[in-house]
Symmetry: C2
Amino acid sequence: MKTDTSPARGMRDLLPADTAVRDHVLSAITGVYARFGYQRIETPALENIDRLSSGQGGDNEKLIFQVLKRGLPAETAPGALRDLVDLGLRYDLTVPLTRFYGANQARLPVPFRSLQVGPVWRAERPQKGRYRQFYQCDIDIIGEPTILAEAELIEATTGALSAVGLDDITVRLSDRRLLAALAQAAGIPAGEHARFFIILDKLDKIGWDGVRGELAEAGIPRQACETAVDMIAALQDLPAGKLAGALAATVPGLADEAASDLAATAACLDRLAGTRPLAWQFDPALVRGMGYYTGQVFEITAPGSGGSVAGGGRYDKLIGRWLGKDVPACGFSIGFERIVDLLHGSQPPRNAVAVLAEPGVHPADALAAARDLRGQGRVTEVIRRSGKLPAQLTRLEAAGFTSYLLMREDDAAKPQPRPLGGETPHQQD
Amino acid sequence: MKTDTSPARGMRDLLPADTAVRDHVLSAITGVYARFGYQRIETPALENIDRLSSGQGGDNEKLIFQVLKRGLPAETAPGALRDLVDLGLRYDLTVPLTRFYGANQARLPVPFRSLQVGPVWRAERPQKGRYRQFYQCDIDIIGEPTILAEAELIEATTGALSAVGLDDITVRLSDRRLLAALAQAAGIPAGEHARFFIILDKLDKIGWDGVRGELAEAGIPRQACETAVDMIAALQDLPAGKLAGALAATVPGLADEAASDLAATAACLDRLAGTRPLAWQFDPALVRGMGYYTGQVFEITAPGSGGSVAGGGRYDKLIGRWLGKDVPACGFSIGFERIVDLLHGSQPPRNAVAVLAEPGVHPADALAAARDLRGQGRVTEVIRRSGKLPAQLTRLEAAGFTSYLLMREDDAAKPQPRPLGGETPHQQD
């Protein structure tokens, strides 16, 4: 009797063809990051539930897989479900990183360049292309207060994406402080800022008309909205050299430091664009969802990705939650699964040899022949001969083998590998 | 106020020095396995709780981290705790592999060579060197009924261990069927076999006298125990050529096929030992804990490891549990954490350059200088100058930097990197 063997709901198995793309992408990305000095760290998949539910994760906190305490009685008494739980699976890599930094700060350099790659879990409603376990790939610089961090994160991440073949990308840059100052300057009531940002965040999907409609529907004063939209339009795509001046003129409430920081990052991107193809734009409409950002935010879009392939920003207050004193931090997260989806099917086939051992061949002989081929640098598998030879060879070719070595019991001479494909071999061959 | 930032109980953070060793070990092992044609697969960390609790996991099933169903009411009603749970974290990679094979069989080659590397979770009592999340590294051959599988798994795994520098290892080989036939032949009552195996399994730790003592204490008939112990002693360390004959003479109840299979695997190991250093022994006292083994079992010990560094065997009935028809399977699992512990501290230091930017230097200039050095193949980090230069250089050296490039605002000439260490630099240098 066959049992249901599908993975748990919303989860998936990764087959060799899947992991081949993933490993290729990962190795290209981490190779670039390593040259920038990012060092890999790893935190446990499970964190204490209180830490995961401390409000940093926004809506993701509703999606936590919660783990039961061990040693509970088999029968539950009436009480709070919450009391049965002590751990949860991490929903991102940022909250664990800030805890990690708090715990290990004394053993880490300043600034600390962290690279994290690993699965996170969210109990989202399963849908096509979205899984409840997926990988994130984050770099973070902790302890660097200046835009050296922002500019380097963008340089490293665009370099990493280029290394996996994503060249036609665009970096969008803004600052969390700008949008707040702009909303203020436009006369949007303070209590409506959050809703204004949420609606503005849909600009990519619904366009300016859609945004205007939703703002009106939300009852945000029409005149203020129009002013805000005009300000955003006036600032969008400004070149690096004009940024500081235009920001000071258009959004007087914006701190000088925020304006000059944006200009400095923009200057770094301009300079970088002189050394390799790089498209970037200043985009005051960029929102970035997470509540913990405190300064510059950025995002990378690629054609065909239907959204961003990477996003990040500065979060100077998050580590302070654990440490009791603020530590400047800035991170960039690559949407690993989205990149893998974009690149699927672009992998070269494996180039393996099959040692085909007829039934009478002693395993020690077959293994020795394979050993020789591996010694010559070939990926080699020993496979027993079975069924009709042409059919077996066809199967091998489909499985990515490019040549085979047929071993028979009475072989006197040492056989040589033959290429697969092309003309059908004869049985007596 | 500083909050507790330690990882969850029994878990640990991996720092850059830890991941460097782990990545090195992993890359060496998987490099060897790839040449044998093992292809990496990945299953989700979470499996349906019923699958994890189906009795295959032995005692490990008591150590499952259980995950609460989503959408439960906040207040629990009296009832079975078990009803609140639908998922669990995997406690090994074998049970998920058999489910994976059931789900994806049609898309996998025959035989299928699987490589799995990843974390598993067990809620064991925390103790030094044991963690509740740890990595396993398994290779398995599914669909190969002959000892080609066993002999290749042993060749590949000893090769992988050699690639990480573990050369002084010993392979121990036996067969699950042998011990059962031997206990039977010695007259140990069938109901006492399991206890006899459990006590025998402690031979490494407590020696023959200890085993005899515990057997007596357990009330297993003394004469039968003596006979069994004598038979084991007579068979131990037999050379390949004498195995089949001695087994037939000493343990007449053993199937001929089991005896000749052992002889064939032994012949393969002898042949392999002619090509590279390899110590192996036939060891009828080898037990291997898991109940699912059906044929040959093997284990690798290394000096200083205090136990085995790898273990495995044939499990021809496990996949049948899901599929309704048996599929031959054989696997070898490397004790990844134990290997990492053995090798810790043997890593070469990183060889990085620090671009030290004085406060007045524009970030774009510092990033450009770093870009040049990376272009020359150096791992390069940009770090702001702060505090006294000699102190900062000392910190950099401790963090693994081997040279630095000091950038000042008024630099006219392009500075060159200087080596770190040796004489103390002058501030004006």
